[in-house]
């Protein structure tokens, strides 16, 4: 458990200093843990666990957009679990139940295997369609068609800088929409 969390902290430090591969590895490493947490939270609240993927994506977006509030000198796991807890409580509340989640529950969680009954996340895709045209096109190209920033820029005849800006704005407005729903 310690080793894993130290590894996360190291990856996040690399990510902050510009290593996108480390960032992707970190997000891939935390996703199963978040998934297990979301399932447990849903199960405890007496709700179908098939919505866990939406919660996982909600948390990942928050981690991404709020990562500047992480102190590079501090361990990453407490920060992550605080974000996750906040988003999980929010998600459960939105689904109509007041719940209290104990943060200690998360630290010992075992990553869940990608169970077959997992329903793919729908919320992000649904909100993607409602974004302003430019943001939607850029996000669709990168997130759905897996195009690089460079390829997206060429395809949409935009500069790479403009693609980056649109991508970030798309992620931010997606998060705002998820929060408001």
């Amino acid at each position: 458990m310690r080793d894993r969390e130290d590894e996360w902290t190291g990856l996040m430090r690399s990510a902050i200093s510009g290593d996108s591969a480390a960032y992707q590895r970190l997000l891939s490493a935390i996703a199963p843990v978040l998934r297990a947490m979301a399932r447990r939270g849903l199960a405890r609240a007496g709700q179908p666990v098939d919505q866990s993927e939406d919660i996982v994506q909600d948390i990942l977006l928050a981690v991404h957009l709020k990562r500047h509030t992480w102190d590079v000198g501090a361990p990453f796991a407490p920060w992550l679990f605080a974000i996750a807890r906040n988003k999980l409580i929010d998600a459960l509340r939105r689904r109509g139940r007041r719940v209290f989640v104990n943060i200690d529950d998360f630290s010992e969680i075992i990553p869940s295997e990608p169970a077959e009954e997992t329903v793919p996340a729908r919320e992000v895709a649904a909100h993607l369609e409602a974004l302003p045209a430019r943001q939607r096109d850029v996000l669709r190209s990168i997130a759905v068609d897996s195009a690089s920033i460079k390829a997206t820029a060429a395809k949409l005849s935009m500069s790479e800088g403009a693609v980056r800006v649109a991508l970030h704005r798309a992620l931010a407005s997606l998060t705002a929409r998820l929060r408001k729903q």
Binding site: S28, L60, H68, A82, I83, A125, I149
Partner: protein
Amino acid sequence: MDTNRLIQTLAADNAHRERPVALVLALALLAAAPFSLAIFFMELGVRPDAMAAMRNPFFDLKFLVTLALALPAIAIAIHLSRPEASLRGWAWLLLIPLGLLGIGAGGEMMMPQRLPMMTRLVGSNSRICLTAIPLLALPLLAAALIGLRHGAPARPAVAGAFAGLLSAGLAATLYASHCTDDSPLFVATWYTIATLLVTAIGALAGSRVLRF
């Protein structure tokens, strides 16, 4: 959308850098300061005998108290903008302005006074004090909330309350130069009520706008 795709997308956005919360908060407060200053100079202004008043330690104490509230409140608000932060180890800072007020009140008790205690406490500006501090604080409170929105406070109402405390502290610093009531008893009563009012507004607004 597939989570792995989302992760790839987030990694593609890794180059994007946000400004630290402290910087955004500072810029927002600086941008809002002219509004509070404009209200102050148009409606209130510095009291005419300010130069003479500076020789009165109880006049100076007012600024010490209000700044001892505003500055720790700023530090705590920035601290609380991190999701894993708690008030533990920080809340005691709020005892500093209270302690200063207590010392001031004690000092005043020991000195011969022209006016009875209740008269000093009630003062002659209580109504202005109760309206001016919240009014001067509002632009700063809005700025503080905008700044803190940039963070990720785990408890939005608490973070909002500190936005209220810091803006009330700054507003009271400004107001103190207008007010002719210098008794620590007046400050402890009316400034405190005004501050609590702004704090409550901050907590209420925070619980709505500071969720992330």
